[in-house]
Assembly symmetry: C2
Homo-oligomer: 213 residues x 2
C-alpha cells in the first residue's frame, strides 16, 4: 500500500504565515494559512505549541516502515491539537485541505484545567476510535465515521468532507476501494445522498445510527 504522505505540496500562498482579520470569536493570535498536505509538525520535533483549527482540517498520523499509514485523529474547525506526551511530537500533523490555524502557546492562554480536559478528551476519542477499528465491519466503520464527523460539526445533516477517500481509509483501517464501496452501499440503501463527491447528506440518521452498534 503506497500512501504519498510526505508529498508536501507547498502552500500556493508563498510561505505560510499571513495575518487575517480574526473571524472566530475566541481567536487570540493571527491565523496562519496552509495549502493542502502542508506539514504542521513532524514526529520527533520538539513540541511547544497547541494549534487551533479555524477552518479546514488536520490529520495526525504515523507511517510504518513499509509505507502503510495510520491516521490516529482528524481535527476539524474549532478543535485544538498538538498536545503530546514527553515534550516531543510522536506523530506527524498535516493539513488535508486549505486550512487556517492559530497558535496557542502552551504556557499561558490555557489554564492547566483546560489542558487536562483536552488530554482526557483526546484519550477518550482515541479509545472510541479503537472500538470502531478493532471490532467493526467496513460498513459499520464508515457509519461511525460519518456520525462522529456530523456530531463534531454541530449535529449537521450535511457533511462537507475535508479529506480524501485515502485519508478516510487510513483513518479507519480500510482501503480506498472499500471506503468507496461502503459509501456507494449507504447511497444505494438510501441512508445517505451525495451532492458532489465530498458532500454527504445524511437522509436517514436513525438507520445510520443503527449501523454503528
Amino acid at each position: 500500500m503506497f500512501t504519498s504522505a510526505r508529498n508536501l505540496t507547498q502552500p500556493s500562498t508563498p510561505a505560510a504565515l499571513r495575518p487575517l482579520a480574526g473571524s472566530y470569536p475566541p481567536c487570540v493570535g493571527q491565523i496562519a494559512l496552509f495549502a493542502p498536505d502542508a506539514e504542521i509538525f513532524a514526529q520527533g520535533e520538539r513540541a511547544g505549541f497547541l494549534y487551533r483549527v479555524e477552518f479546514g482540517a488536520i490529520r495526525v498520523y504515523r507511517l510504518h516502515a513499509d509505507g502503510r499509514r495510520q491516521i490516529v485523529a482528524f481535527h476539524l474547525a474549532g478543535e485544538t491539537f498538538g498536545l503530546e506526551a514527553g515534550g516531543t511530537h510522536s506523530f506527524f500533523a498535516e493539513t488535508t485541505v486549505h486550512t487556517g490555524l492559530s497558535k496557542v502557546s502552551l504556557a499561558g492562554e490555557m489554564v492547566p484545567q483546560e489542558l487536562m480536559a483536552l488530554a482526557l478528551r483526546s484519550m477518550l476519542h482515541a479509545r472510541e476510535h479503537l472500538l470502531v477499528v478493532g471490532r467493526q465491519s467496513a460498513l459499520e466503520r464508515i457509519g461511525a465515521f460519518l456520525v462522529d464527523i456530523a456530531v463534531r460539526l454541530g449535529d449537521v445533516d450535511t457533511i462537507d468532507l475535508q479529506m480524501t477517500r485515502l485519508d478516510i481509509g487510513d483513518y479507519l483501517g480500510l482501503t480506498i476501494e472499500t471506503v468507496s464501496r461502503s459509501f456507494s452501499r449507504l447511497r444505494d440503501e438510501g441512508i445517505v445522498k451525495f451532492h458532489g463527491v465530498k458532500t454527504i447528506e445524511i437522509v436517514q440518521p436513525e438507520r445510520l445510527a443503527l449501523l454503528c452498534g
Copy 2:
C-alpha cells in the same frame, strides 16, 4: 462472538478489601485483593478514584450491543488507571487474574502534573495501540503485543501472561483461534518458546522486533 465479560466470579476470599503488608515501596494505602474477573468499576459509574495495580492485571473494555467486546487497555503491576474524561467512567474495568489494587484519591496524593502525565501517556498508548490494530496483520499484532508487555514488565525476556487468549484477542481485534495460531507460528519459527501456556520466553528479540514494523 460471545464473550462472557459480565460473568463475575466472586472472589474466593470473601469480599474484596483485606489489609496486607505494603510490599511495594510507593504504596500508600491498603491493598485490596480481587479474584479473576472481578469488576472494579462499570461504564456510567461516577469516577473519583485512581487505582494502582500492585500485582495481577486489569482489562479496560467496552461491549457492543451484539456482545462483541473491545479491550482498549491492559494495566499491569506498577501502573495506575481509572482517570477518565467527564467524571464518569466510559469503560468497564475488571481483573483478569488474582489482583491486588491500592486506591489513590484524585484530590491529593497526586499532583496535577502527574495526572497530566498519566493522561498524556494513556492517550499516547491508545494511539499506538491504534497503529497496531488499524494496519497490522495478526502475526504483527501478536508481536507488537508481546514487545509492549515485555517492555512494560521491565524489558524482561520471559513473560508471564496475566490474561487469557480471549482477552488478548479482544485487545488486538482477533479471534481466540487466530491468537493461538499466531503464537504457534512464533513458536514454530523459533522466535519464542513456551514454558506452559501462559509463560512465553522471547528467544529471538530482534526477529520479534522485525515483525512489528
